[in-house]
């Protein structure tokens, strides 16, 4: 199974519920082809760098998943037919992927990130004290 990443841009006139609906639909397609979703997210409404189909904004939606070429071609066919999709891009991340290992890796990464954030916050709170003790030590 290959790992792919697909990003597509949706019409800015849609609501968040519509975007979620589209997200679910793509998720269903992936599951139907016995693919596994590692990550799916609505990245929110963003300003485009240039106009696409006369729109200057759009919802960015990103998917990380495994699947085969049939799944990708079906997804892209659906995007082409759907007028609400302004632009899409599929990128192959890996040729052969071990699903469990990759899931574990992603979980570890998320955990590390959360830890780093917590540490940063703690450091920000304790920073004045730390400087003080350092000065004392130096003296």
């Amino acid at each position: 199974m290959r790992e792919y990443e697909t990003v597509y841009i949706l019409d800015p006139a849609l609501t968040d519920a519509d975007v979620q609906h589209s997200l679910d639909k793509v998720g269903e397609t992936i599951k139907r082809h016995s693919g596994v979703i590692f990550r799916s997210q609505n990245m929110g409404k963003k300003t485009l760098a240039y106009r696409v189909k006369k729109q200057s904004k759009g919802y960015y939606v990103a998917f990380d998943y495994t699947g085969d070429n049939k799944l990708v071609s079906e997804m892209e066919r659906a995007f082409r037919l759907d007028e609400r999709v302004l632009r899409y891009l599929t990128v192959k991340l890996d040729d052969e992927v071990n699903v469990d290992q990759r899931k574990q890796q992603l979980a570890d990464e998320a955990e590390a990130l959360a830890k780093a954030m917590a540490a940063q916050q703690a450091a920000a709170v304790q920073a004045p004290e730390a400087v003080l003790t350092e000065e004392v030590n130096n003296a």
């Binding site: 990003v7 841009i9 990245m43 485009l48 760098a49 240039y50 106009r51 696409v52 200057s56 759009g58 960015y60 990103a62 632009r87 891009l89 990128v91």
Partner: protein
């Protein structure tokens, strides 16, 4: 304009003294992607891609990005992908009259 001599070559051939006279100070910077293995370039992130393009939207050469040849190729690919997804412009002229 004469072609600029590569720094490494200059140092090897002519020794330190001459190199210093010509282009001082000399320092060699490591590629930031090689220095930090976890650092990856993400074509969806406009702030990150923005570091590697000029004001006109051109991809910056290695002497500005400081990347090694392998990672410069990664940067190039990421910028090209970001252009397709309208994360960064193909050219700055596309931006003109954008708000119409």
């Amino acid at each position: 304009m004469p072609r600029r001599v590569s720094r490494d070559k200059d140092r090897d051939d002519k020794g330190k003294k001459r190199g210093q006279n010509r282009f001082s100070p000399q320092r060699k910077r490591a590629c930031r992607f090689c220095a930090d293995k976890n650092l990856r370039i993400d074509f969806k992130n406009p702030q990150q891609i923005g570091l590697y393009i000029s004001e006109r939207g051109k991809i910056l050469p290695r002497r500005y990005t400081g990347a090694c040849s392998k990672h410069q190729r990664d940067i190039t690919l990421a910028v090209k992908r970001a252009r397709i997804l309208a994360v960064v412009p193909f050219t700055s002229t596309q931006v003109r009259g954008f708000n119409g």
